[in-house]
């Protein structure tokens, strides 16, 4: 506080707000176009700027909340926690970093996994929490991801993962590195079972997460303008000692170079993936929310009619009982 501020009586003094931390109030500033936006409106559009479509980061829980049907939902392995196997300490203790991250995010770890449904189609969805130590992958993230894969296998359901991570977690050293192999191996099982894995890469998806689970989607999707790559741009710049091309390692760059199938706007993600999964799973196009009157006209879905409360909820069991078993041409019975 300078001398001038001190002169001002406290009741007319305005609190100095740091430039970046506007979001507390009613207004928010877009990181993309600097437009001042109505906070509630930005939230409604899932943190995508209505003016320039810049995608701000979204927490794991809000991500899953906006992606999945309201019901059913069941979090997978919410209670497993890191144990600091190396008693790691740099400038701070790993334990303290974990505690601080837990406090700041309200999450126990950097990955949230849920059993749920997408427009009535059962699936397992996972989302990285970037605010939790940069979404870094350590033992717990790896284990939760694998339990998600196991749940998908058990249910005969697809898996969707929203990545947002700086890479492996250095504080767990080789244990972290091994999570790359662990998650990739588990996805191999899903592949053998012919269950789809959709990988959605959001800003940023780097290092060990990019070089394992995130790039192994049957379909690789990214949000617009997300930073995606193996090595960080600064490391590359230092290595090659030249300026990197405009748009390097951004979603559009990756699409051009054949690493992605699609770039999808967050606001259209739910629709796009619901349709995509329905095609891959040989199901009719999902109708959502289920409207009682329209249901019999388009699709014979008796279960949906008995439950008008916007929940078609095809019991997981009907799908689970018939995972496409070895025969790629098998068409599950939903299509009449």
């Amino acid at each position: 506080m300078n001398w001038f501020d001190k002169l001002i009586p406290s009741r007319i003094r305005t609190e100095v707000v740091s430039k970046r931390a506007v979001p507390e109030g009613v207004w928010a500033k877009c990181d993309g176009c600097n437009a001042i936006l109505y906070r509630a409106e930005l939230e409604r559009s899932l943190e995508v700027c209505p003016k320039c479509a810049h995608h701000h980061r979204l927490s794991a829980r809000r991500r899953l909340d906006s992606f999945l049907d309201p019901e059913p939902r069941e979090e997978i392995a919410p209670d497993i926690e890191s144990v600091d196997p190396l008693k790691f300490k740099d400038l701070k203790k790993y334990r303290d970093r974990l505690a601080a991250a837990q406090k700041a995010t309200g999450e126990k770890e950097a990955l949230v996994v849920m059993r749920g449904a997408l427009k009535g189609q059962p699936l397992v969805a996972a989302a990285f929490e970037f605010a939790f130590m940069g979404g870094s992958m350590g033992s717990v993230v790896g284990e939760r991801f694998v339990r998600g894969v196991d749940a998908a296998l058990e249910q005969g359901a697809p898996l969707v993962c929203f990545a947002a991570s700086g890479g492996a977690r250095m504080q767990e050293s080789l244990f972290s590195l091994m999570q790359m192999a662990k998650t990739s191996a588990a996805l191999g099982r899903l592949r053998e079972a012919r269950l789809p894995f959709i990988s959605v890469m959001t800003d940023p998806t780097m290092g060990g997460v990019s070089a394992s689970l995130a790039m192994l989607g049957d379909v690789n999707v990214a949000e617009p303008n997300a930073l995606i790559g193996f090595a960080g741009p600064r490391v590359i710049e230092q290595t090659v000692r030249e300026k990197l091309p405009e748009g390097f390692q951004r979603s559009e760059f990756l699409l051009d170079h054949g690493a992605l199938d699609q770039i999808v706007d967050r606001r259209a993600m739910r629709d796009a993936l619901a349709d995509l999964l329905a095609i891959l799973m040989h199901r009719p196009r999902p109708i959502w929310p289920v409207i009682e009157a329209s249901a019999p006209a388009s699709e014979p879905e008796p279960e949906a009619r008995t439950e008008p409360a916007s929940e078609p909820a095809p019991e997981p069991s009907t799908e689970a009982a018939a995972p496409p078993d070895g025969d790629g041409g098998a068409v599950p019975g939903q299509r009449a």
Binding site: K182, M215, G229, F230, A259
Partner: protein, 318 residues
């Protein structure tokens, strides 16, 4: 200072130089200085033993990338017969940072794949300092799938600072290439023995490092990031690499303790570079032992065990 010796090796280097001098004198001189030579030789050995009995993780990290450290091709000529190198990823290029090929180990057919660093400046550049690009990993993948087809056990040799961080590597999908290898290796229907012979640098190492057995030479290192890289991120200064090397537990001893590797292959006194033939013989014996073990396991069982092994990597509480 001899640049071919690390700072903590200097006292040994000096003694050895003296020893050499004496030997030369002894050759063209009638004087009997055999006793003196013997005394110096013993002293040299004791000194080496004492230096090497208390190496710090940082010193081991330096040893793992010692300029005279044996590289893959040094082992290939000593371990195998009839090695035939196979080149190229069939799509883009032949990455010389990864060498692969078929060979015989004690008569049995095997597939050999490993990182290769260069010895002189020209070769270093040609080998890109042992840092593969996506085409290197894709060549490795092609050869591994071929090995599965022809039921050749796969032996991989890990020695890299990491996958190359370059513009072209990113454009051609470095991440995807590494990820694909991890997934495929986890399920290959052939035995895989991986050995960290030098520097096990992160994803670039792991991309040929998923197997039924993971061995490490005594003074090899294996870590998620280089000590320098870790220090510059977490300590905000690359000078703190010694602390990072300590904290990350990158040595064979620590990794065996944590059950992340299966066995340590002991190195001759003073490190692998001091006696390459002994090193190669020890390594060959270790590889044969593990291959014999694996050959006795039914293939479905082998794959299931490899999967379980991977799933068991990680520490957490519920």
């Amino acid at each position: 200072m001899d640049p071919h010796f690390l700072d903590f090796e200097q006292p040994i280097a000096e003694l050895e130089a003296k020893l050499d001098e004496l030997r030369r004198v002894g050759d063209d001189n009638a004087l009997n200085i055999g006793d003196e030579i013997e005394r110096l030789r013993k002293k040299c050995m004791t000194l080496t033993e004492s230096i090497f009995s208390s190496l710090t993780p940082w010193q081991i990290s330096q040893l793992s990338r010692h300029p005279r450290r044996p590289y893959l091709l040094d082992y290939v000529e000593r371990l195998f017969e009839d090695f035939q190198e196979l080149h190229g990823d069939r799509a883009f290029a032949d990455d010389r940072a990864i060498v692969g090929g078929v060979a015989r180990l004690d008569g049995r057919s095997v597939m050999v794949i490993g990182h290769q660093k260069g010895r002189d400046t020209k070769e270093k550049i040609q080998r890109n300092f042992g840092m593969p690009r996506p085409e290197g990993y894709r060549k490795a993948l092609r050869l591994m799938e071929m090995a599965e087809r022809f039921r050749l056990p796969i032996l991989t040799f890990i020695d890299t600072p990491g996958a190359y961080p370059g513009v072209g590597a990113e454009e051609r999908g470095q991440s995807e290439a590494i990820a694909r290898n991890l997934q495929v290796m986890a399920a290959l229907r052939t035995p895989i023995v991986c050995t960290v012979v030098g520097e096990g640098g992160s994803g670039g190492a792991l991309a040929i490092g998923v197997g039924d057995r993971v061995l490490m030479l005594q003074y090899g290192t294996y870590s998620v990031i280089s000590p320098e890289g870790c220090a510059s991120i977490l300590w905000k200064s690359a000078d703190k690499a010694q602390l990072a090397a300590e904290a990350m537990a990158i040595t064979s001893e620590k990794l065996l303790e944590q059950e992340l590797i299966d066995a340590i292959v002991p190195e001759p006194l003073g490190g692998a570079h001091r006696n390459l033939d002994t090193m190669a013989a020890t390594l060959k014996a270790a590889l044969l032992e593990h291959l014999d073990d694996l050959a006795a396991i039914d293939m479905d069982d082998l794959r299931a065990r490899r999967y379980r092994r991977l799933m068991g990597c990680g520490r957490f509480k519920e």
